[in-house]
């Protein structure tokens, strides 16, 4: 659970305030990126250079603007786009495919993050081909046709980022130089920061605010409520699991001692027999310690195997950042390992009990129980 919390709730995004600029002009410089990387508690930094990409829709689109309805036969709709992966792209680990697939390197294709609609109000359709216009810094727009092959979960931290490309395809389409100018920086207009742990998110955000105060259009966004609630839920869940685990082990130990007690009561004649055969109490204790120790260790071993088998079948689901996390119940190593010293303790207790109870009732009485 803690691992999931640290994996999922530790993302922080830095995005421009106001409407998306779509270009890396007035972006965050490499020196700021370096500053961010040096913040204590930052695990990884993903600078993203984006581009406003247009999809040209054909048809009859009636748009209400300037106090009147106007019908267009061609409509260019702008989407903020970036590449998926690459050194200045959207981190793949933060992208969750909901339907379809990811674009192949040689494929004119893209994926979108969220349910985006065309001007007629219908959502963009999976596997449909769209006309793309990608503006370039030198104003020489590049037009091509690409297919929508996948739809991902909307990322609430970078909600304005809509289209993601395979960088290999764009390098082929735009050429290496133009690709570098468009998506390679050196300035970046989005930055995704991965904090090391949930606990370090807040101090990292404080440090980011301090760095970004001189870069006013940018501000960090993080899922404060999510982090806090997830953190508290995880803590509560962990405690609950620990309580259940400890209670189970104590119950198992007590049950084994009780069974040992019943067994030893029924077999006190056996203790008497060993004694009359010349065994001393120390030897009898050692014999029963080994006997019950082996039984308890075997029981522990079976218990550990069963708990591992059953725990893998028990799962909890969490909806985080638009995706459903399936969290398997993982056994606590310390609790699992504690079964073995507890077995030794149980064996020791029962062996002591066997001898003391036989001494208490007397040898003759013990022997008569045969």
């Amino acid at each position: 659970m803690s691992e999931y919390a640290n994996n999922v709730s530790t993302w922080i995004s830095i995005a421009p305030t106001g409407p998306p600029t779509g270009t890396s002009s007035n972006g965050l410089s490499p020196s700021i990126i370096q500053e961010i990387q040096s913040i204590k508690g930052v695990n990884a930094v993903y600078p993203i250079a984006s581009n406003t990409t247009y999809i040209t829709f054909h048809g009859n689109f009636t748009i209400f603007a300037f106090g009147q309805n106007t019908t267009y036969h061609e409509f260019n709709m702008g989407f903020t786009s970036a590449v998926l992966g690459n050194k200045s792209g959207f981190p793949p680990s933060l992208f969750t495919l909901v339907s379809g697939r990811l674009p192949r390197p040689d494929e004119a294709a893209f994926v979108i993050m969220g349910d985006f609609k065309s001007p007629d109000g219908n959502p963009l359709q999976l596997n449909k081909t769209y006309s793309i216009v990608m503006p370039q810094p030198q104003k020489d727009n590049v037009s091509f046709v690409a297919r929508l092959v996948g739809i991902g979960a909307q990322n609430l931290l970078i909600g304005s980022l809509a289209i993601l490309w395979n960088p290999q395809f764009l390098i082929q389409t735009l050429g290496k130089q133009r690709f570098g100018q468009t998506f390679g920086g050196p300035d970046f207009n989005y930055v995704v920061v991965k904090a090391a742990t949930v606990e370090s998110v807040e101090p990292v955000v404080t440090a980011l605010n301090s760095i970004l105060k001189n870069n006013a259009p940018y501000e960090p966004t993080w899922d404060q409520a999510g982090v806090l609630s997830f953190e508290s839920f995880v803590n509560a869940g962990d405690s609950l699991y620990q309580i259940v685990g400890i209670a189970s082990i104590l119950a198992a130990g007590a049950t084994t001692i009780f069974i040992g007690y019943l067994m030893s009561n029924r077999r006190s004649w056996e203790v008497g027999l060993l004694y009359t055969q010349g065994w001393d109490w120390k030897g009898i204790r050692a014999y029963y310690f080994l006997y019950f120790g082996l039984l308890a260790l075997m029981s522990s071993g079976i218990g550990v195997v069963l708990s591992l088998l059953f725990s893998s079948r028990i799962t909890q689901t969490f909806n985080v950042y638009g995706r459903t996390l399936i969290v398997p119940a993982s056994p606590n190593e310390l609790l699992v390992l504690s079964a073995f010293p507890i077995s030794i303790f149980v064996a020791y207790t029962v062996s002591q009990f066997v001898v003391s109870s036989t001494k208490h009732i007397g040898l003759d009485r013990a022997l008569r129980d045969y």
């Binding site: 004649w269 056996e270 008497g272 027999l273 060993l274 004694y275 009359t276 055969q277 010349g278 065994w279 001393d280 109490w281 030897g283 014999y287 007397g362 040898l363 003759d364 022997l367 045969y370």
Partner: protein, 205 residues
């Protein structure tokens, strides 16, 4: 009552006369309410644990109702319980056990689970287990009970052989004829009191 070292002493008396109680006191299974019990000059009621353990090492007890571990075979019951404290190696103990078992007609029962044996067979296994320890003192509570004449004879021969090796033997019986079979001396018990001690001067075969 005095048991001489190396002698064969019979305790004779009817049921309920206290034979088993007397034998259990000798074997240190029971402690007397009053009086003294001396074994090799050591007062057992006041002996410390070390002395008591040392004495018990030399005393073997064969039960009236044979006590065998039901989850072990005949040979395991005889050897395993003795091997822990024996000065002899396991192989020697096993060979000796097989020899003793064959002498009492159990050579074909060595690997049997003991819960498949008859009462008489179990009784002999119990006695062989007691003898395998090569004790200084063998105490056998009614060793001939539940035995047919042939097997009783075999048991007599086994106990005699032990006696010939210097083992002091004390056994009990309700049958006066059995008292004469082994005993050098016979102690009569009546209502938990020693009545008379008869010294026998000839061995009856």
């Amino acid at each position: 009552m005095r048991i001489d070292n190396g002698s064969c002493h019979c305790v004779l008396g009817p049921s309920g006369s206290g034979k088993s109680t007397l034998l259990k006191i000798m074997a240190m299974i029971l402690m007397p309410d009053s009086g003294k019990v001396l074994v090799d000059g050591i007062e057992v009621t006041t002996a410390d644990n070390a002395q008591s353990d040392k004495l018990r090492e030399r005393i073997a007890y064969s039960f009236q109702e044979p006590l065998l571990l039901p989850y072990l075979s005949t040979i395991e019951n005889v050897v395993d319980l003795n091997s822990v404290y024996s000065e002899y190696p396991d192989g020697f103990l096993r060979e000796t056990a097989l020899d003793f078992l064959s002498r009492v007609g159990l050579e074909n029962r060595t690997s049997y689970p003991v819960n498949r044996l008859s009462v008489g067979e179990r009784k002999r296994v119990d006695l062989v287990r007691a003898l395998l320890r090569n004790p200084g003192l063998l105490i056998a509570d009614e060793p001939f009970a539940s035995l047919d004449p042939d097997n009783a004879h075999n048991v007599v021969k086994l106990i005699r052989a032990a006696s010939a090796r210097g083992v002091t033997v004390v056994y009990s019986t309700v049958d006066p004829s059995e008292a004469n079979i082994l005993g050098d001396k016979v102690t009569h018990l009546r209502k938990a009191e020693i009545g008379s001690v008869v010294e026998l001067d000839s061995e009856v075969t």
